[in-house]
């Protein structure tokens, strides 16, 4: 019975989320829920706010309005169940660290500052390295890895975290065909083990094959749901047919005039309000 009620709780709920960079709106009241145990793609053209959405979910950005619930809770309460794979280019791979060093970072916790990792942590790190097939390279300096291997390092780090929800930012960018295949296999394994994996992905062609569910984004939510309901000509055209002209004009105007994203003191009211 408990298992059943858990399944009802969405892995991720994004409620009326708006976000902006330097006053320029990037996400307009995005609202959707994602079920547990699925492979889910967040798909949209360049500049459609996919990474911004992920950053808001992970608490790396303060939204202008709206909120995010993970497994029905605030991020702070369920942080240990969430794992994040940032874009590969977001770090300097010349940093003096080995593959193992980076994967070990997945075991750092805030209540274990000043302490060394335990034997169990090292065990989990080894297992994670094995799962992405990097065990032989564990002592290698990270700058000497290929793009696909670097991506696998980040995924191993996320695996070592032992989470239930994985959020990955463009893990398929710049990897070779062999890595891509291995990665898909791993993702399917994770799904079968009951994990939820949300993947930011820009390539529409492959998105249909890879995922069970898709969130179609272009600064606003176009659609979210199971594959069959999303991959329809009208919806895809809506997402990829360029931005809405009026919307981007308003966005530019807000940035230029330093306009606030929300009126100060504005509270959402039940009912119709004065609108």
């Amino acid at each position: 019975m408990i298992a059943e009620t858990q399944e009802v709780i969405p892995a991720l709920e994004v409620h009326n989320l708006s976000a902006s960079y330097q006053r320029k709106p990037v996400l307009w009241d995005v609202d959707f829920q994602l079920p547990q145990g699925k492979l889910i793609g967040v798909v949209g053209p360049n500049g459609s706010g996919k990474t911004t959405l992920l950053k808001n979910i992970m608490g790396l950005m303060e939204p202008d309005s709206g909120y995010v619930k993970l497994f029905g809770e605030d991020l702070e309460k369920v942080r240990h169940r969430i794992s994040y794979v940032p874009q590969r280019e977001s770090v300097d791979w010349n940093f003096p660290a080995s593959v193992r060093d980076v994967v070990e970072m997945g075991r750092y916790r805030k209540n274990r500052l000043f302490k060394r990792l335990k034997a169990q942590d090292h065990q989990l790190v080894t297992e994670a390295l094995e799962r992405v097939n990097l065990l032989e390279l564990s002592q290698r300096q990270i700058s000497q890895l290929s793009g696909g291997q670097q991506q696998r390092v980040f995924i191993a780090r996320a695996l070592a975290q032992q989470a239930d929800l994985y959020l990955m930012d463009e893990p398929f960018v710049g990897v070779d065909a062999a890595t891509e295949e291995a990665l898909l296999e791993l993702l399917t394994e994770m799904k079968n083990a009951g994990k939820t994996v949300v993947i930011v992905h820009h390539d529409l062609q492959t998105a249909y094959e890879y995922f069970d569910w898709t969130v179609l984004l272009n600064t606003r939510l176009v659609a979210a749901g199971p594959q069959e309901s999303i991959f329809k000509k009208e919806l895809l055209q809506e997402a990829y047919g360029g931005r809405l002209t009026v919307l981007s004009k308003i966005g530019d105007l807000m940035a230029r005039k330093d306009f606030p994203a929300r009126e100060t003191g504005f509270k959402e009211k039940e009912g119709l309000g004065d609108g």
């Binding site: 330097q22 992970m58 608490g59 790396l60 702070e76 942080r79 240990h80 969430i82 994040y84 940032p86 977001s90 770090v91 300097d92 940093f95 003096p96 660290a97 080995s98 060093d101 980076v102 070990e104 970072m105 997945g106 750092y108 916790r109 805030k110 500052l113 000043f114 060394r116 990792l117 300096q141 700058s143 780090r157 975290q161």
Partner: protein
């Protein structure tokens, strides 16, 4: 040399103290500097060093005392304020980071100089020697100064040892640290404080102007030698300690000499040497790699010339002269001499008075190079859809870099072709 001997004996208690203090201060700064360096915050260190000056001046004006703790507190406050200003400017304006840093550095340093001049022209007692903060003078430090600074340096080292793994993660990937729920704000404040403290305690011995060098140069020198963070930190500390010794020695043996500039001179020298001779990352290593590449390309091209002539003649047993080889390819005279010498030394060609021919080993090697060339041409036409009259120049380069592993993959992908796009046979090992 006598003075070196006297120095190294450390008989003088003051000398002992000054040297030990300087070494510890330099080590503290260099270890903190490793993280500033890896976070690409070298300029921030410079800004903080300059921004500390008004803090010291104000602390002195308020208390009219040169108590190291009070001056240090003043330094910390203004150093912090500078960091805060840089952050605010970046956040609220559209100015770039370097503009914010330069602006803060200039304003704070200007105010510092103004206050310092004011103090020197005032009749505050005990005002002499404040200018040493500009250029540094280790000898001017009192025992109380030294003990305070050394204590702070020790605290810095311990703090970094304790939070080593978090600082590593924070420097590499701060967003991930935040997602893990680590107290990123606290860590950032801590590392900022450590930087300000490291700079503040070094100011008196090294001076405002050169302090940033003590922070960053050891890290840059150490980075050239290693890919391990821990090794890098220890190396940086070692370089800094050695340079502190050099600085102390020079100012000991020549009384008019300031300590700080000599420490920095020594550090810069070490960094220069490191950038030259470090394995892998050093300039010499790079030049050597380029030389080896050139030799590999030359000798392999010569083997190919031997092979081509043999292929045309239908036999590889004929004795060929350097002129024969030059007919197949534009080798210069020097190249021919050097290439043949190397091939002979490797027993790839057999010399005789009337010329050279490939040894059996040499023939195998020549076949390998020709095979790679023709295989790559196949790959270019089949996989990359290039026209067969455009592919030769590309293959000329790539043939020299294909590893056995890639060769195997090529063979499998192309399904062991017999002929290349120009219908020349692809020679397989016999």
């Amino acid at each position: 040399m006598d003075s070196l001997w006297t120095f190294l004996q450390f008989k003088d208690a003051t000398l002992q103290l000054v040297t030990a203090g300087t070494v510890l201060i330099a080590m503290g700064a260099s270890v903190v500097g490793c993280f500033a360096f890896l976070r690409k915050r070298a300029l921030v260190g410079d800004a903080v060093a300059h921004a500390i000056l008004p803090g010291i001046a104000v602390a002195f004006m308020l208390t009219a005392a040169k108590n190291p703790l009070i001056l240090l507190s003043g330094a910390l406050v203004s150093g912090w304020l500078a960091l805060y200003c840089i952050e605010i400017i970046q956040k609220t304006s559209k100015l770039s980071a370097d503009t914010a840093i330069a602006a803060v550095l200039g304003v704070f340093f200007g105010i510092g100089i103004l206050l310092l001049t004011h103090i020197q022209h005032s009749d505050l007692e005990n005002q002499s020697g404040l200018d040493r903060f500009l250029f540094g003078s280790a000898a001017s430090m009192s025992t109380a100064d030294l003990l305070t600074y050394a204590g702070v340096a020790l605290f810095l080292l311990l703090a970094i040892a304790g939070l080593y793994k978090e600082l590593k993660l924070f420097s590499f990937n701060p967003e991930y640290a935040q997602v893990l729920g680590l107290p990123v704000k606290t860590i950032r404040r801590l590392i900022n404080s450590l930087t300000v403290m490291a700079i503040a305690i070094g100011i008196q011995s090294v001076g405002v102007v050169l302090m940033a060098a003590l922070l960053i140069t050891p890290a840059a020198a150490a980075r050239a030698w290693t890919d391990r963070l821990l090794v890098m930190i220890f190396l940086a500390a070692g370089f800094a300690a050695f340079s502190a010794l050099v600085g102390s020695y020079v100012s000991f043996s020549a009384t008019a000499m300031p300590t700080g500039p000599w420490i920095v001179m020594s550090l810069s020298f070490l960094a220069l040497i490191s950038l030259f001779i470090a394995p892998q990352r050093g300039l010499l290593a790079r030049l050597n790699r380029q030389r080896l590449n050139r030799i590999k390309i030359l000798t392999e091209n010569m083997l190919k010339a031997f092979y081509n002539l043999g292929e045309r003649a239908g036999t590889y047993q004929k004795w060929l002269t350097a002129e024969d080889l030059a007919r197949v390819r534009d080798f210069t005279h020097a190249e021919l001499t050097q290439g043949l010498r190397i091939l002979r030394k490797k027993h790839l060609v057999i010399p005789k008075q009337s010329g050279y021919r490939l040894s059996r080993q040499g023939l195998d090697e020549a076949r390998r190079v020709v095979r790679l060339h023709r295989l790559w041409e196949m790959y270019l036409t089949q996989r990359m859809r290039m026209k067969s009259d455009h592919i030769h120049p590309n293959a000329e380069t790539i043939e020299h870099i294909i590893t056995p592993e890639i060769e195997e993959q090529l063979l499998r992908e192309l399904d062991f072709p017999e002929k290349d796009p120009h219908s020349s046979p692809i020679p397989y090992p016999q």
